[in-house]
């Protein structure tokens, strides 16, 4: 029954495009989305249906994860309270329709930034909050230690409506291996089918594999293969057509990353107001008028850092401490050997 409702919502969402009010033309420096958000009193955020470390709800319905933190940062910046977010769990299939039809205002759901998504379907990607790549998980007992050992007839479980389906085809085609794709709509169904032995391997983004492995009946019997077969820059997405809102989301994310770069975190942010470094002072709202550019007050970035923390804190809290991916790999700051590099806030 639940499934039918899910499918219905995607159809309804499609019709919502038809009925949506057509007055969303933008005046300069005035964001309709921001106005509506303030009027409503909460940020509408689309997240996954449960991916530990990225967006996951506990028993009492509290959402945590680095994708969730992006929405919380936007709520802190625009509404002054990081808890004022309404999360809508979406399947991969529903996510873009939900955003373009105006059901949500930010899609922060481990979504890969690609040309066709950015240019074709009325979306704008604002940045990258996790650099990922597609990998494979197999049973330890299979003795397979690299993707080169896959044979003709391998059955592969994965998710519907993802770049994974395309990468998988590119990968197996280029290797000349025939394979059987078994494609499910929900991640939990993929895990259940792989666990039952329906598939020889499970493929999705490596972070996803690490997270989903914890849901298997015997996680230690499975191993993620070392190869990465694709680039998957994951990041938040907004609707095309509201450039101010787009900037707010982009710079909320950038603020978190830059805060880590300058060593500003949730506990020392207030003290940093008296720092000697003008870059740090700008970051905590003690210098310049950065918020005015979006129609926000001057403490918007300070609130993000105080209420949500910097990127490093968010990563540690959600991904490292939960044992999903303790090693930050490419998601380390550029100053520390990673590729996290954001334009300066000035």
């Amino acid at each position: 029954m639940f499934k039918i409702i899910k499918q219905l919502t995607s159809v309804v969402a499609m019709f919502a495009v038809l009925f949506a009010f057509s007055t969303e033309t933008m005046a300069a420096k005035k964001s309709k989305t921001l106005e509506n958000t303030k009027k409503r009193g909460f940020v509408r955020c689309g997240v996954s249906q449960g991916l530990p470390g990225f967006s996951n709800a506990d028993e009492s319905g509290n959402w945590t994860g680095i994708d969730v933190d992006v929405c919380r940062a936007v709520a802190a910046a625009t509404l002054g309270d990081a808890t004022k977010v309404k999360f809508t769990p979406l399947s991969a299939k529903e996510r873009f329709t939900a955003l373009t039809s105006g059901e949500i205002d930010i899609l922060s759901r481990n979504t890969t930034w690609t040309l066709s998504r950015d240019a074709d379907i009325g979306l704008t990607f604002v940045g990258v909050n996790f650099y990922d790549g597609q990998g494979f998980m197999v049973r330890k007992g299979s003795g397979i230690s690299s993707t080169g050992e896959f044979k003709n007839g391998t059955s592969v479980c994965t998710n519907l409506g993802t770049t994974t389906e395309l990468n998988m085809r590119d990968f197996f085609d280029s290797k000349g291996i025939s394979y059987e794709p078994v494609v499910f709509e929900k991640a939990d169904e993929v895990v259940a089918a792989y666990d039952a032995g329906r598939c020889d391997t499970y493929t999705t983004d490596k972070s996803g594999l690490a997270a989903q492995r914890t849901k298997l009946s015997a996680p230690d019997d499975h191993v993620v293969l070392p190869e990465t077969i694709s680039k998957e820059p994951l990041g938040p997405v907004v609707r095309q057509g509201d450039s101010v809102w787009e900037d707010i989301v982009r710079w909320s994310l950038n603020t978190m990353i830059e805060a880590e770069e300058y060593g500003v975190n949730s506990s020392n942010a207030d003290m940093m107001k008296t720092s000697n470094n003008p870059a740090i002072k700008r970051l905590v709202g003690a210098e310049g008028e950065l918020g005015a550019a979006f129609g926000l007050d001057n403490d918007w970035n300070l609130r993000i850092i105080k209420q949500v923390g910097n990127y490093g804190e968010s990563y540690k809290r959600n991904i490292a401490d939960t044992g999903i991916l303790p090693d930050r790999g490419p998601n380390e700051l550029w100053t520390k050997g990673g590729i996290l590099y954001v334009p300066p806030a000035r």
Binding site: F96, G122, S142, E149, G161, P181, V183, A193
Partner: protein, 383 residues
Amino acid sequence: MNNIIKRYIPQILVILFVVLIFGFLTLNAQTNMDNRGIDFGFGFLSQESSFDVQFSLIEYSGSDSYARAFLVGLLNTLLVSFISIIICTILGVIIGVARLSSNYLIKNSAAWYVEFFRNIPLLLQIFFWYYAALRALPMPEKADAWFGVTYMTVKGYYIPSMVWENLNVFLYCGLAAIIAIIVLRNYANKLRDTQGKQIPVLLYSVGLLIVLPLLSFLFGGVSLEFEIPELKKLSKISYIYEGGISLPPELIALVLALSLYTSTFVAECVRAGIEGVSKGQKEAAASVGLTPNQVLKLVIMPQALRIIIPPTTNQYLNLTKNSSLAAAIAYPDLVLVFAGTALMQTGKAIEIVSITMLTYLTISLTIAAIMNWYNKKIEIKEK
């Protein structure tokens, strides 16, 4: 004059209203899509799909177009509906007749069957058959052979495939047999009407259907060989069968769920149909000397069918539409392949959802048309 105005004004108003609503919807969709930079168009259908599908009746790979992916999905939907309709009809008729049995045990088990399967939501049944069966079925290397050559495993049901030579000759012979049967039936009917003679048509028909194709083996150069699935090692612990045909567990689970569920409704239609024929008909037929077999075949069934067909058509339509629940268990039907993956990769939500809706509408209307034709055919013809 007054009458004409009274008759037509409301109709014209209704039509105008409908046209206006559609016009408004189209215009609104257009402006909104323009604002958000979404193009409308069906050009994507000829683009390369670049995704693979698990199970397909026709040749398909990622380098084919989206239009072909649509066809793959459509054929898979038709396949699962077709198999399920046949199974649910056979099961439904048996259960329906069983419910009227005078045997206490048969009657009650049929009733329990109906009450049980009809009152559990279909989606749950699909999940049950899929995940329960998946967990219960053996891995390929541990599977026992059924009938010596078929293997039921967690990765699918592997059956031998047929390798034909001169298949067309065989098919022509089959066709010839069918034509011969039709001619024979017409002749038999004429004989019965004019001279009152009966010939065992069924026996002759079965004979024709067996003998003619058999002759093609002897004289037509037709030969048939079976390719038997063989176990192949993929890695230390994983195996697969190669050769033969593999029916994916998703298909089997879906057919099971759909046909068991719908057969309960068909059974009720059959029971209603038979009970709807008045007792007097049966007694009258018996009193003119017809055997019990003839009573059922010539008197009861022709009248019962008239009651059975229309509601059963509804059940067939429901089954076809319900087959879209396939997406839940990874069976690559129209909804999963086209309204799922293709929609995601192209972002053409409005185009793809409308094509999909139109397709289901067409399938349903076709089934309805066939059933209506059959219903017309067996209607009482006043002479």
